[in-house]
Symmetry: C2
Subunit: 306 residues, 2 copies
Amino acid sequence: MAPWKRADAGATQPRRPGGIQQCAIRTSFHFADRKNAIWISRIKVSVFFPGRQRMEFPSWIELVERNVAKFGDLVAGIDPSLADIPEFFGHDGQWIERFVDFMIESIEGRVGFVKFQSAYFEACGLAGLTALSAGIRKARAAGIGIILDAKRGDIGATAAAYARAYLTPASAGGSGDFEADCLTVNPLMGPDTLEPFVECANCFGKGLFVLCRTSNPGAGWLQDKMTGNRLVSDRLADLIAAMGADANSDSRLNAVGAVVGATVPHEGRRLRQLLPRSIILAPGLERRAETPQPFTPCAATRQATC
Amino acid sequence: MAPWKRADAGATQPRRPGGIQQCAIRTSFHFADRKNAIWISRIKVSVFFPGRQRMEFPSWIELVERNVAKFGDLVAGIDPSLADIPEFFGHDGQWIERFVDFMIESIEGRVGFVKFQSAYFEACGLAGLTALSAGIRKARAAGIGIILDAKRGDIGATAAAYARAYLTPASAGGSGDFEADCLTVNPLMGPDTLEPFVECANCFGKGLFVLCRTSNPGAGWLQDKMTGNRLVSDRLADLIAAMGADANSDSRLNAVGAVVGATVPHEGRRLRQLLPRSIILAPGLERRAETPQPFTPCAATRQATC
């Protein structure tokens, strides 16, 4: 008996939390049997990352399996901007810390994943980054899967430094300040610049979301262009699938996922065919809240911002 | 009399400092007459950025003109990695601060520009970012032009947050912790995602280096591909030239520059034709130190790492 089914292969809809409806994530699968699924998750640990180090915390894939089973397919996006938040949080130097605290407490036990948008924390300088560090710690203690949306990308040694910054545990040489479970990365510079991220993710049981077809209006300027007989976004999807497959050859889900905007369901359907085992982060969904299930065909991991 | 000449139009070579030879920057021009050049620089202030706010510090273009005239075309790259530095700096929590301090003091009065590679500071967590902030302050106080190599890129509001983080003075709503003179940015997501950076740069007299053709071995995987009848890197160069031209229609140099690897002189020569007024940051030069003037045809801003 298969204890799980792909959402894009079956008719059953993924579970939804009763809580924050404007924040959504969906993975490419759901569990038909929670107990079996958890058991499978435990068995899989030994084969997902044969070379990875023994970790104190669950791997990204384990987190996805466990938290989707418990809470459904939602991600709460935290993009703290002083102009957008109620005065309740105050306008002194500590507002961002209070806001992040409040958000984590609000989603704990209701939503399985949080996505911190790094830019907003960086915009607040060292105080913002201190709040990000505290938010990551608090989310981890609450068992929430942590996605850091930082869209990093650079040549070899520098990409390795970014991977050390955001995917390496303190026990393995990381600073311990910004360790996430999953990081968004930018592939413009080429496959060799993704490799240090993939190696680090495999070593420490982390996940990646590689930009593939983004949600912004100008995304098609480059990503929808043909190179030879392939679209740029299709070539990126091929690369993402290949890197994920190399990493976890006998897992059902790849730790190397993709960012595909929920604003482009046509492209999403096409890219899903190229990424059958990838978890897809699909931002921009909130703009289509009036349309029921606009991205079901993508079977994508959805994200919208609180 | 023209007080300056483009290096790509004339036979005279740009000046070189006698100091740190492994660190190099070259701009697209040199000064035939320092006194006149400075005078022109002063006159230009009022027309470069008609909409920009009154700033305490010189604009990026002013810095380029002034510091190239004084020190030549070198940039010192600071990429602090504990594994690569002498034990002299210690291996406690403060090594990075000591290293950055030492580097700034070493280059002060000898090199006109510094490039901080953000990844290495981020890899050291909050201590690293505190050292970055201190390094930026120290470099500014020393009159050194500050390039922050962070390769940021994201959709509209998030790109604006990154611009606030790294290009906005504290007096205009920035945190004051990481204000650079020039920032590297990633254009994969499309022209609309560059606009917030360009707007911010124009407003505050800052500069940008947009990735165009990078120096890594796998760069050609996407950047050298044809889309229609144009290479991806050529389309990026067109975009960079257009954005720079919009910003400073009557200046000789554009505040929106490009990253073109010094490891690819063939591509560099072609891209220079498309970017006649851009300052080009050309990393990877140190690997070709044995070849005299390998990038002269690019007339590019060169960078190598100390």
